[in-house]
């Protein structure tokens, strides 16, 4: 019931949104819809676990062995919560941005929310694929219509990239479907498959599925679409892409890849981990040299996601929990970064770090809030990311899945230092130093921006100080996924 509502409300509101022909109306309508969705998500949090409210399973395509099956467990709860929290924040933070044909913009935004919700709650593989694509289409139109100058080729590249990945994934899903006894797409059937998929099939099956997820995350060397797309997309869409869509890839690995083809995951774990490490170091180094704020945040996101992916393949309970909590934290933090970047760009008209300076004198409120977000970005204690990254690193360090655990941990830890370099450097050059011509006329942030950033800062600190409820929420699912991955035990 609750997961169905989470999909249907944004879907229906989004479709209705196309009909509203006033900008203000569409904007308020979208905010209202996203707040209702948030309320539903919170309701889902309060319901106790075994409740039938958290599941739904109806006939959809009987001939194909596919059902409309959705459910909320720890993993999907935390991600739907992230989606539900993010959208109102996005709408509030970009409240003053003007869009041509705003009703279409907000309609498409809500449709992408419906797609994201569907991805996270689906417990049927074909349904999952369905929503996976559905989340992509609105984003394609959003970026191509309202993006920056080079939006059309850049978005197209992004689309083709992800579409190739998802089609390969579809082939993999169909293959597994035919090898499930009784031909079924249901998640439970896939987890308890007997006889298991032969080891040699798992070897290629792993890649055909993983490529789709790796493109979404993105993992080096499949990341090339990402900085361009983040730069060219309208900021509200960049927020959706980086805070939420990236999680689709991680989620896909945890739900549809690792437990279903565990032998393949074990066999290729080191390969993938190495790619993650290379990507983290590479992205951090590139981020240091970036002059464009949006690109800087984009590269820092690649580094953070790489760490999360690394921890999944470490196959430890603590690392797995770290991934789940860090997915939430990363979403919130990067949202804060984008809000700040967007504010700076709107107030000064530029994103070039070299042209900015002295903003702290002109906009002290913004400076304080952004510094908290930035500290969370480099995982300082008392912020939420500290908890997350601490768990991730201990997970990788104690991993028995690989013999290179120490090497992985040490090299990955280098990126924390690199992260501190580029983040603090950015803060120093943007907020401190001399006020120049570009920043002279800047005013401090207004109410809607204060609300958005304020909520983000509160979430950062609350989760950072008291992470226990989140950890409890994810514990069971993490252990369950591990029990499927540790097929040998």
């Amino acid at each position: 019931m609750i997961p169905v509502l989470l999909i249907v409300i944004p879907l229906a509101c989004g479709l209705f949104g196309f009909l509203l022909k006033s900008e203000r109306g569409a904007r308020s309508w979208a905010l209202l819809s996203s707040l209702i969705t948030l309320a539903i998500a919170l309701w889902g949090l309060s319901v106790h676990k075994g409740s039938p409210l958290l599941k739904s399973n109806v006939e959809w395509l009987p001939e194909l062995g596919c059902r409309f099956a959705v459910g909320l467990d720890g993993l999907s709860t935390i991600l739907t919560l992230l989606v539900a929290v993010s959208f109102p924040l996005i709408f509030i933070a970009t409240w003053r941005t003007q869009y041509r044909k705003a009703w279409n913009f907000f309609g498409l935004m809500l449709l992408s929310q419906a797609g994201l919700m569907g991805v996270f709650v689906a417990t049927d593989a074909l349904l999952f694929y369905f929503f996976w694509e559905l989340a992509l289409i609105p984003v394609y139109f959003l970026c191509s219509q309202w993006g920056g100058e080079r939006r059309i080729p850049v978005t197209f590249k992004f689309f083709i990239y992800t579409f190739v990945g998802s089609l390969l994934m579809l082939v993999g899903l169909i293959w597994i479907y035919w090898h499930t006894p009784g031909h079924s797409f249901a998640m439970a059937d896939w987890y308890n498959m007997k006889p298991k998929i032969a080891a040699k099939d798992q070897m290629w099956l792993f890649w055909i599925l993983f490529v789709a997820f790796a493109i979404k995350m993105p993992i080096w060397p499949l990341h090339t679409w990402q900085p361009d797309t983040y730069e060219q997309a309208p900021t509200a869409v960049t927020m959706v892409l980086s805070a939420l869509m990236v999680k689709m890839g991680l989620f896909g690995v945890m739900r549809w890849l690792a437990p279903v083809v565990p032998e393949g995951t074990w066999a290729w774990g080191d390969t993938v981990s190495t790619a993650c490490i290379i990507g983290m170091i590479y992205a951090s180094l590139v981020a240091i040299k970036q002059d464009d704020l949006k690109r800087l945040v984009a590269y820092s996101s690649i580094a953070h996601v790489g760490l999360m992916c690394l921890a999944i393949f470490a196959t430890t309970s603590i690392g797995m929990q770290g991934v789940m909590i860090q997915m939430f934290n990363h979403g919130i933090n990067i949202l804060g970064m984008w809000v700040a970047v967007d504010l700076i760009e709107r107030k000064t008209g530029t994103r070039k770090i070299s042209q900015l300076g002295g903003l702290a004198q002109k906009a002290p409120g913004l400076a304080i809030l952004l510094v908290v977000v930035a500290l969370a970005n480099i995982a300082l204690p008392l912020t939420n990311a500290f908890i997350g990254e601490f768990l991730l690193f201990s997970g990788v360090f104690t991993s028995t899945a690989t013999q290179y655990n120490v090497v992985f941990t040490v090299t990955a830890a280098v990126t924390i230092i690199l992260g501190a370099i580029y983040t603090l450097n950015m803060i120093k050059r943007v907020f401190y130093g001399e006020v120049n011509g570009v920043t002279a006329g800047v005013t401090d942030i207004r109410l809607n921006e204060k609300v958005a950033l304020g909520v983000i800062v509160v979430l950062i600190i609350v989760v950072g100080v008291y992470p226990k409820p989140v950890l409890e929420l994810t514990k069971e699912t993490a252990d369950f996924i591990l029990s499927k991955m540790n097929y040998k035990l």
């Binding site: 395509l61 009987p62 001939e63 194909l64 694929y129 369905f130 694509e133 559905l134 289409i137 139109f141 191509s144 219509q145 939006r151 059309i152 197209f156 689309f159 083709i160 579409f163 190739v164 089609l167 390969l168 579809l170 082939v171 169909i174 293959w175 479907y177 035919w178 055909i208």
Partner: protein, 452 residues
């Protein structure tokens, strides 16, 4: 129909007569399918009206009806002999009926001939258009050649069959070894039908003919005719050669791969939307060939779904194209601002052709892929097909980009009427419906395909 031109002076009356005729055909076909036989003729096992064929017929008739409803007015612009055009379309439909329901190779040959000859005429129906004349001649020469090959193939098969029979069920039964005669007959048939469905490497006529023919007839050829021949194609290989697929599958696989590759890659380089659609129809044929490769129950469901979905989408796009002044991609620039309904429905059609979920095209492609995967072999072909599908996104989305994201006047020849827009919306809704509940069509034949 042909003589109606003598009696009826008004073009509207002719068109209405055509619509009524098509509707009657559709109703008659439906009644037959439900088991109410209006007219029983002894066909001596030459024809076999099973549900597969009848559903194929229904799709052909319904698509033609949609085409006439949407683009009937454009047919009037082609020339003066409107009644003849309708008559020729009905002749073609007659051929199609034979091709979808034949049970004997002779009937297949007759059907192919009956549907081809009117098409040669329709292609050249714009008498003063040089390109049209060229296309018609080309089509005629190459078409006759392929018919000759087909006849030769049939003769070989006849000679190879132990009882001297044309009936397709008997072609391979009680035959332990494969004789060279049988194999060459089979290959000749494969080649000639591959020509008719414009599969590579027998596709060279397609772009020229589709480009040269009046657009309304291109639409007819690319949809109704092509998918009906596919139904016949599947029938032949399923019933005639289905017991021994190992012998010929490799040829079909090669043809499918070549078709997918050439269709998709060449479509990328086109400047004219009409020509792009011609190549895209080649590419789509490549996907349909996958059904021929696997020949499972899923494949037969899928080919019908594919036929319906592909026809609806293509007819819709051609209908919009006919209204455009400029057939190049630039001609579509800014259409969304001028004609939001046209652009929106066109987008749905294109998404469906590209196989994006929520449209019928997704399930059509899904069925094709699933049918091949279920055989457990040919995984390389599946992966190849999927990569080609990704390429197809490139050229389909170019049209969407032009319509929505580029500035231009998006000039249409004349403002589309409310009825035209209504029809387009209906078609788009149908595609979305098939994309969410494909069994709306498929449950109709579910019970029989598996108990065949």
């Amino acid at each position: 129909m042909m003589f109606s031109g003598v009696f009826l002076k008004s073009k509207t009356a002719i068109r209405n007569l055509g619509i009524v005729g098509l509707a009657l055909l559709l109703i008659g076909n439906y009644a037959d399918w439900m088991g109410h036989h209006l007219l029983v003729i002894e066909v001596h096992k030459m024809l076999f009206f099973d549900n597969f064929g009848l559903l194929g017929n229904s799709i052909a008739f319904a698509s033609t009806l949609l085409l006439v409803l949407l683009s009937g007015r454009d047919m009037e612009k082609v020339g003066h002999n409107l009644a003849e055009y309708y008559a020729l379309i009905f002749f073609t439909l007659c051929g199609i009926t034979l091709v979808t329901t034949y049970n004997s190779l002779l009937m297949l040959f007759l059907g192919i001939e009956i549907l081809s000859i009117p098409l040669y005429i329709l292609t050249g129906s714009e008498k003063r258009n040089l390109k049209g004349n060229e296309a018609a001649l080309k089509y005629f020469l190459m078409g006759s050649f392929s018919t000759g090959l087909m006849l030769l193939g049939i003769a070989f098969l006849y000679g190879a069959s132990p009882t001297g029979s044309f009936v397709i069920d008997d072609l391979w039964t009680a035959r332990p070894a494969v004789s060279p005669l049988l194999m060459s007959g089979l290959l000749l048939l494969l080649v000639s039908i591959a020509f008719k469905v414009s599969a590579a490497p027998f596709h060279f006529w397609t772009p020229d003919v589709y480009d040269g023919a009046p657009t309304v007839f291109t639409s007819f050829m690319a949809t109704v005719v092509k998918v009906s021949i596919f139904v016949g194609f599947v029938r032949l290989f399923d019933e005639g050669f289905g017991q021994n697929p190992g012998q010929w599958q490799i040829f079909v696989a090669i043809i499918a791969a070549a078709t997918l590759f050439i269709g998709n890659i060449t479509a990328v380089f086109q400047q004219s939307v009409k020509r792009m659609l011609a190549y895209s129809s080649i590419a789509q044929a490549g996907f349909m060939l996958l059904a021929l490769l696997s020949l499972t129950g899923v494949a037969k469901d899928g080919i019908l779904l594919y036929a319906a979905v592909y026809s609806i989408a293509t007819i819709g796009i051609f209908a919009v194209l006919m209204r455009m002044k400029d057939y190049t991609f630039e001609g579509f620039n800014g259409l969304a601002r001028k004609q939001p309904v046209l652009a929106a429905t066109c987008t749905i059609f294109l998404l469906s052709l590209a196989g994006i979920p929520l449209t019928g095209g997704f399930f059509a492609k899904y069925y094709m892929l699933a049918s091949v995967v279920s055989t457990g072999k040919w995984m390389w072909l599946v992966v190849f097909a999927v990569l080609c599908a990704a390429v197809s996104v490139y050229y389909y989305f170019r049209v969407i980009q032009a319509m929505y994201f580029k500035d231009g006047d998006g000039a249409t020849e004349l403002a589309p009427s409310a009825g035209f827009k209504g029809m387009l919306v209906l078609l788009a809704a149908l595609i979305v419906l098939l994309g969410v509940f494909p069994q709306a069509l498929l449950s109709q034949l579910q019970y029989f395909v598996y108990t065949w």
